[in-house]
Amino acid sequence: MALLEAAYQEFRSEVREFCEREIVPHAEKWDREEAISEDIIQKLAKKGYLGLTVPGEYGGQGKDSLYYAILNEELGRACSSVRSLVTVHGSLVSETMARWGTREQKSTLLPRLAKGELIAAYGLSEPEVGSDAKSVETSYQEHDDYYELNGQKKWITFATRADIIVIVAKNGEHVSTFLVHRTDPGVKIEKIHGMLGTSASGLGLITLENCRIPKDRLFGMKGMGFIQITNTALDNGRFSVATGALGIALASLEHSISYANERKTFGVPIGDHQLIKKKIADMTVAVKAARLLCYHAAEVRDRKDPSTYVHTTLAKYHASKAATMAATEAVQIHGAVGCLNTHPVQRLFRDARIMEIIEGTSEIQQLLLSNYALKNLTDIID
């Protein structure tokens, strides 16, 4: 019996066909060149994938979280760098704006984001600040008719392409978030080269020097940049990363099954050897469990259960671990072939490692999960 209703299966077929035609043939090249093409961004926009969950009234497709899970899973299966564009643009910024943007931001900016006319990124991490997000050092000063921002943001996905970047900044103990345009005076963006995985995701170092922006660029309530905006954005992003990691795990398994049936040693396909069978079995269980956790998180998100974030955390923690395990085993099953930089499994292997770091490391997910379980285990298990 199929896990999903027909409409979702049709959507998966549509996205898979798109990925096989427009993304898979270019993924290794983009990875080596450390950039996806502008053409694929426009094609994603044209399909409505950059605003899939944004409500129709703001120019999006108004689809539910399960559609979004499928989109991210299929993109992750094809190319994690492309998936990471959808994560930062769609999840971290657009979905968060749909939730907490001012009426003005939702009516003027959000439709342009949903249609891909503007691309957005999220500037949280800094040279000295990662998981300890409340400790950002980028500062803001409030003046009569403008805010002034100073500081640096590092490892910012698609900073090199984004038109708008959400900047998390601090004034004393107050954390606020702002919409900074790449063309604002005092903004400098440099590309970061040499990343292990998701190499084509346009990571950048952003320097803000006396960057003055109008008052209406405040995103969320003043002083609520962490509680309101960043927590919402990270929760949205985690869901996208979880389902993207599921895609990596699935691709690793599919490549492994195909190779295990075709490659022969000792006169038989390697899939006949018991130690390879064990790997395939472990990968299959990990992928299925990841899919169930991700789709369950989608269902919980859509019914707006207060415990949504813990189910998303659970899915992200498991799916990213499953991606690492499955991609590692895929390289092992492929042997030397899987180590060649033209073979997809070596890219999956490198991309999988990133899934355990972005949108909260596996260690942060463990803290969140255990803290929650110690008080409310039934909310997670039931």
């Binding site: 907490w100 309530m221 609520m224 927590n231 929760d235 707006k304 207060p306 415990s307 974030y309 969140l368």
Partner: protein, 78 residues
Amino acid sequence: MNNQDQIKEFIQKKVGEKVSFSNADDIFKLGLVNSLFALELVVFLENSFGIQVENEDLDLNNFRSVDNMNDFVAKKTA
């Protein structure tokens, strides 16, 4: 169960049965609420009382105590 009791029950479940607090206590000052729980509270209020918490509603004073949340819900549903 009235609104106040419903709100109290939700928080009590989250912070554990052994923690005691009154309807007037500032749950932020008591350290009962972390930033993630704050968002859970928002979603709980929206779901349980059929309200939409907007950007401008996110004044911490609306969420400081069971009483304040009860007043906030009453205002939103008036």
